[in-house]
Amino acid sequence: MSEIRNELKYLPSHEWARLEADGTVTIGISDHAQESLGDVVYVETPEVGSTINAGEEAGVVESVKAASDIYSPVSGEVIEVNESLEDAPEQVNSSPYDDGWFFRVKPNDLSELEDALDASGYQSTIEEG
């Protein structure tokens, strides 16, 4: 069974979001997503300083199997990206919720995060297949 962390918010498109103590939001893809994709070989993150909008494409993850767009659950400014994924994209597989995070956003409106799913809501979307 894939791991779903209770403290995170999720999109039905399999991204997770974590609200940090400083009010920023970290984004990655779920354990279920990395398992379904198989070995991740490239991650394209947005540029630091760029502005992204909730629900719009913010990056791409490519595995041996497929390429998938990454959507952000919140709008705001990208303040940091996980540069270590450039040389070690396999961290998305081995540690999807920790070392394999994608990018961090300074959100314009934190209430956008309330529209995302909680752990049990995400669990049921996976079960529905």
Binding site: H32, E35, Y42, V60, V61, A67
Partner: protein
């Protein structure tokens, strides 16, 4: 992210090793109606094991067909584009061949082993039904028996250490038999059939054997350090080795002449009238204006099947037939059917953006070594 693959329930065939795959953490997917492991964790790690050491694949889904009877040789010389007369003099020797329809399209690609009084064929599982129907229709007028051998399991052990380790875990008679085999040759050993063949670009064996023996062999190989590998690694290995996959590089609407299979067509003797011959001859006379090439992308991104190939300064287009990330090379490679006039570079439309790639022969890695 895009929707992920569904995990709905379906009834599929299971091989003798199904429970072992599950216990080893195999991620099972539907493959031509069979429930097969795509990987056991990391497809890339499995790929490296085969290039550097030894890996094993359950390929029991492949269809084994035996052809016997007094007309077996004559029948196969009419059925196959390659000529089994080429392997007349060596018992167990194999040829790779296309089986063509009258229009010269590829019904399937297969391996045929010469066993003196009979032949063993290995064909693809996804094409099983139409292959058997075609073969039985073509058998009319010949004194042959075409019989499927669904009771046989098949294990491919591949990699530089594969033959040595396998020889260590089987009985000495079978090990001696393996030592006597040439490349692309097989032999019976009791109710086993052992061949020095494969689909990875590495040395190794393909072993057809009864289900119970398959379980024992698989477990003995695992204990000896041979890593189980799924069909995902099998695909990246064959693509690096420039080997065609039915349904990708060729199908019933594709001529072998545009699928890098010209070498498998035995034109001589000129009076051998194999199925599809007349159509291929017409194609040759009209001129072949497409070919199968390799593509190399060294930057970020993965080439994928069905992406469009753009030729600079030309309206002609090509198509990627198979694309992947090459674990050995560390970047993406692909095979593509393109206009024969293609130069050293072309562009691929990747996610709506044209990206320049290098054009090479469709042969990227052999015996652990990069060829590009």
């Amino acid at each position: 992210m895009a929707p992920l693959l569904g995990t709905g329930l379906f009834m599929a065939h299971r091989t003798a090793l199904y429970d072992i795959h599950l216990a080893a953490g195999g991620k099972m997917v539907d493959f031509g109606g069979w429930d097969m492991p795509i990987n056991y964790g990391s497809q890339i790690d499995e790929h490296h094991q085969v290039r550097r050491h030894a890996g094993m694949f359950d390929v029991s889904h492949m269809t084994v067909v035996d052809v016997s009877g007094p007309d077996a040789r004559r029948y196969l010389r009419a059925l196959l584009a390659n000529d089994v007369a080429r392997i007349d003099n060596t018992r167990g020797k194999a040829i790779y061949s296309a089986m063509l329809n009258p229009d010269g399209g590829v019904i399937d690609d297969l391996i045929a082993y010469n066993l003196d009084t009979w032949y063993r064929l290995v064909v693809n599982c996804a094409t099983r039904d139409k292959d058997l129907a075609w073969m039985s229709r073509q058998a009319e007028g010949y004194a042959v028996v075409v019989s499927e051998r669904p009771e046989l399991a098949m294990i491919a052990v591949q990699g530089p250490e594969a033959t040595r380790i396998t020889s260590d875990v089987i009985d000495t008679d079978k090990a001696a038999l393996i030592a006597s085999l040439g490349n692309f040759q097989g032999a019976e050993a009791g109710d086993w059939f052992i061949a020095k063949t494969g689909y990875t670009g590495e040395e190794g064996l393909e072993i057809m054997l009864p289900a119970v023996d398959a379980i024992n062999l698989w477990q003995a190989l695992a204990q000896a350090g041979v890593v189980p590998c799924g069909l995902g690694a099998r695909d990246t290995l064959r693509l690096e080795a420039g080997m065609n996959l039915y349904g990708h590089e060729m199908d019933e609407s594709t001529s072998p002449l545009v699928a890098n299979m010209g070498w498998t067509i035995a034109w001589e003797p000129a009076d051998r009238d194999f199925s599809g011959r007349a159509a291929l001859q017409q194609q040759r006379q009209a001129g072949i204006n497409e070919k199968l090439v390799g593509l190399v992308l060294k930057e970020r991104g993965v080439l994928r099947a069905e992406q469009e190939v753009i030729i600079p300064g030309s309206d002609a287009r090509g198509t990627i037939t198979s694309g992947t990330f090459s674990p050995t090379l560390g970047h993406s490679i692909a095979m593509a059917r393109v206009p024969a006039t293609i130069g050293s570079h072309c562009q691929v439309l990747m996610r709506g953006k044209p990206v320049t790639v290098e054009v090479v022969k469709p042969n990227f890695v052999r015996h652990g070594q990069a060829l590009i």
